[in-house]
Amino acid sequence: MTLLAGSTLLTLGARAEISDADRALVFEREQKRIELAARLAPAVVCVYDENRRGGGSGVLIDSQGHGLTNYHVLAGMMKKRQGFGGLSDGKLYDLDVLGIDPTGDVAMFRLSGREDFPFVSLGDSDRVKIGDAVLALGNPFVLSEDHAPTVTTGIVTGVHRYQWGTGANLIYSDCIQFDASINPGSSGGPLFDAQGEVVGINGRISINTRGRFNVGFGYAITMNQIRRFMPAMRAGLLARHGTLQATVEDIEGSGVVFTELLRNAAGYDAGLRVGDHLLELDRTKIASRNHFASLIGTYPENWPVHLRIERGGFAHEFHARLEPVAPKLAHPFTPDLDVNRRQVESVLRGYRQAVLGNSSAPPRHRAWNTVREFGSHDAAVSRQEKYEGRIAGDFASLRQIHADGSKGRVIEFSDRAAVSRSSTAPDEAPAELPHDQKQVLAAQYLAFQKLLNWSSLDELPETSHVGGDAWVPITWSPGATTTRQSEKERVLDVVRWSLGDQWDVRLGFDAETSFLACITILDLPTRAEVQVDFADWSDVGGIKAPKYVTVRGAGAPFRDELTDWELSP
């Protein structure tokens, strides 16, 4: 019983006396609610345009002043991309518009003028259930003179709702429906659960014939949807939604069936065909056309999705990456390079901080031992090899160790030359190695050395933040069934990096922990791509290092278990 449904208040028939204990419970709940509102209010923003007019709401999500609001709140400010944000301290701060998600009606801004902004933490909207108590904060009707937000309470009255938008804009997919009053001006304000975590951004109400005000039907965009778009928005980009370029219909007696597929588009290329029965999208059973439209609307472009379908009596599984949906914009949106660069720096600094912790200088020399396991189709592990890894300065090497302890071939990588060398004996001439060997070593060099030894972005090659992605871990052997959907979705910040002239490198950082999750290196001349995953970051001599490195390249996927780390300054 999270709400005041004291059982004695509502017995059948005659009313019983209210006991002191119940009375105390009521006051206790009330006190908690008061404390909660007081704790949350400082992070709620009253949003105004550059003329200090208009009226919307927002919420701060970190101490640097990053905040979330509705796109439709900032839509009128897109020319100058500036406005003001008022906090409950009574002060008005400068507001800069960062990235926008017009389709999902979300946008990110940043306040400036204070070192340490109050902020709130983000919750898991998948846990929200009908009946849950919620608080909505914001500035309805621009009532607040001192920027202190209005607080309303209610319960969740619906989940997984779908509300049509205008064309490709302002679509509320899989949203939360609630009965706490929100009204014009509340838009962009946070919806909190009973723990005070943000589970959604309020932005829409159903209205009746009497006018544009609340009749008990508010809708919030879920936090878990917004999370997927946050990396792109934080980096000042236009965050677009994804589509399969496919249409499904509810066919009586057959369930949900694909009726249209655009040729050479995401769904078709993944293997879907007209007539396929859709069973699951990302491990969620699809009940209706509405359900599918609602779920697919929560993904960004290029997002990996898993589909399970039935065709001719057999179940098939497909993986697709979604194509972009172009939103309608009054002004063309050009990403702000300074914002993007600042976000690149923030992500890279975050990684360095996560790895090095309080250590002032990263070790200049690192060595480790590796047991490499190759996956095969009939067994989890087909064979093992042992290696010694070493990184010092701009040089990395990997030496094979035979079962008898004798030393085998060497692979080397240098930052400047990007060369590799292989030899079975020191006096033998080096042999050319497959590209993927070089790329693997380069990835390790980047992760363990380059990304930890810099003080200014100018020291690094040309970098840009290209948005978010979901981590799809490498299935390195058929025995392992690790897929993205079997665990909690991990959202990545993706930084693109041109290393040399011939490699296109994408670094994927876990948006929550800041650790490097994967590096993808595309060799431009050969189009050969290697993905290297870094997993299980744990303590090694005062800093963090991954326990496993998994590789998908030209050959069989393999996994290195890194042990016996040796670090020296």
Binding site: M1, T2, L3, L4, A5, L9, L10, L12, G13, R15, K129, I130, G131, D132, A133, G154, I155, V156, T157, G158, V159, H160, R161, Q163, Q177, D179, S206, N208, T209, R210, G211, N214, V215, G216, F217, D250, A287, S288, N290
Partner: protein, 389 residues
């Protein structure tokens, strides 16, 4: 306790997304016992609504509205199954209707007459069993007809006290589709009173008592929805949208459970014998007189005479735009069209809808009506010859 837990988990299995909070039982119970109705859309009637299942074999209670006049009314249960709903009984006084769910395919094949009482007389139920409410006691029943919560078997209908929580379940704004749970609003029961004494309302003949609640129930699609107490017992039904002509405010209320029960009792009686007067404990003679007056008012409704209906949207002042013109009516014969703005009537300026009705009341039965209307940018003069049939 074990039994109760099982019952609740069984319900949760029915709709996995429902759960949690102090309103969980009310929400889960009500959701399983309402149906989404889809029917005739005309003017202010948007073509969707809600009904309450009041018997395991598929009797559904809803409000009297144009919706149920569709050739085929579609009812979708909480499990997402589609049925056809046929009208068994109507009660103009209480503004209620009783429907019977029948297999959709039967209705499609035309095997069953629409709007006939033959279904009720045919004996064995052909659909269900459904979870339902006991219409007399309000007790939530399992499909078997047993109480959902055996520990709380009621001997008498629940009596709401002012301040008690209520939850209203209905498909307001048509937010839910198929098996998706309907929408809920929760609030507090304020008082039981007569609607007429509080509001100057028109177009609503019901003059009995209503339950006043502070939850917003007057939303499109919500009428016919179940109003339950925290224990999930039916205490009332969301009534038709009632708007004050003075302030354009909508009134949030429910038809009390005992009025619903009386209607069902009357229906039973009518089925077995000749029609009898309405249960006087519910609607007293005063009410009946009011209802008679109201219906007299309706028959005198001038809009009906000439076959037009005027716009109802707007705030304080409702401009007299023509919303509908009845086919073959005097208005249609005069050439009046939808979206015409009425400027004057027999030389009198018409400023708003109220003016129009006021002027129409002054007319004699056979007096011709000269209208000046604006259509797009043209000003037209039209003459109507009202005929009373």
């Amino acid at each position: 306790m074990k039994v109760v837990t099982q019952a609740v988990s069984c319900l949760l299995a029915l709709s996995a997304t429902l759960c949690a909070g102090g309103f969980d039982r009310a929400i889960v119970t009500a959701n399983a016992r309402v149906v989404k109705l889809y029917g005739l859309a005309a003017g202010a009637q948007l073509g969707y609504g809600t009904g309450i299942v009041v018997s395991p074999d598929g009797r559904v209670l809803t409000v009297l509205s144009l919706l149920i006049d569709a050739r085929r009314v579609r009812a979708v249960t909480s499990e997402g199954t589609r049925f056809a709903a046929q009208v068994l009984a109507r009660d103009a006084e209480r503004q209620l209707a009783l429907l019977q769910l029948v297999p959709w395919e039967d209705a499609e094949r035309g095997g069953v007459d629409s709007d006939s009482s033959s279904v009720a007389d045919s004996g064995a139920p052909r659909v269900g069993p459904f979870p339902s409410f006991d219409p007399i006691l309000g007790t939530p029943l399992k499909p078997s007809g047993d109480p959902e919560f055996p520990r709380n078997i009621a001997k008498e209908p629940p009596r709401l006290q002012p301040g008690d929580w209520i939850v209203a379940a209905g498909n307001a704004f048509k937010v839910a589709e198929g098996s998706e749970p309907v929408s809920f609003v929760r609030g507090v029961f304020s008082t039981r009173t007569r609607l007429d004494a509080r509001r100057r309302v028109r177009d609503f003949p019901y003059r009995g008592e209503v339950l006043v609640v502070d939850a917003v129930t007057s939303n499109p699609g919500a009428p016919g929805g179940a109003v339950v107490n925290l224990h999930g017992f039916l205490v009332g039904m969301v009534g038709r949208d009632v708007v004050s002509n003075l302030t354009n405010t909508h009134f949030n209320y429910a038809i009390p459970g005992d009025v619903l029960a009386a209607f069902l009792r009357d229906t039973e009686t009518k089925k077995n014998a000749a029609p009898t007067p309405t249960d006087s404990s519910v609607v007293n003679s005063l009410d009946r007189r009011s209802a008679a007056e109201a219906s007299a008012e309706e028959t005198m409704n001038p809009s009906r005479d000439v076959g037009i209906r005027l716009a109802r949207a707007g705030y304080q002042k409702v401009l007299p735009f023509v919303e509908r013109v009845k086919l073959g009516s005097p208005a249609a014969q005069a050439g009046l069209q939808k979206d015409d703005l009425i400027l004057s009537l027999n030389g009198k300026n018409i400023g708003d809808v109220a003016d129009f009705h006021e002027q129409m009341k002054m007319l004699g039965p056979d007096e011709p009506v000269d209208l000046v209307v604006r259509r797009d940018r043209r000003i037209l003069s039209l003459r109507m010859e009202p005929t009373r049939n």
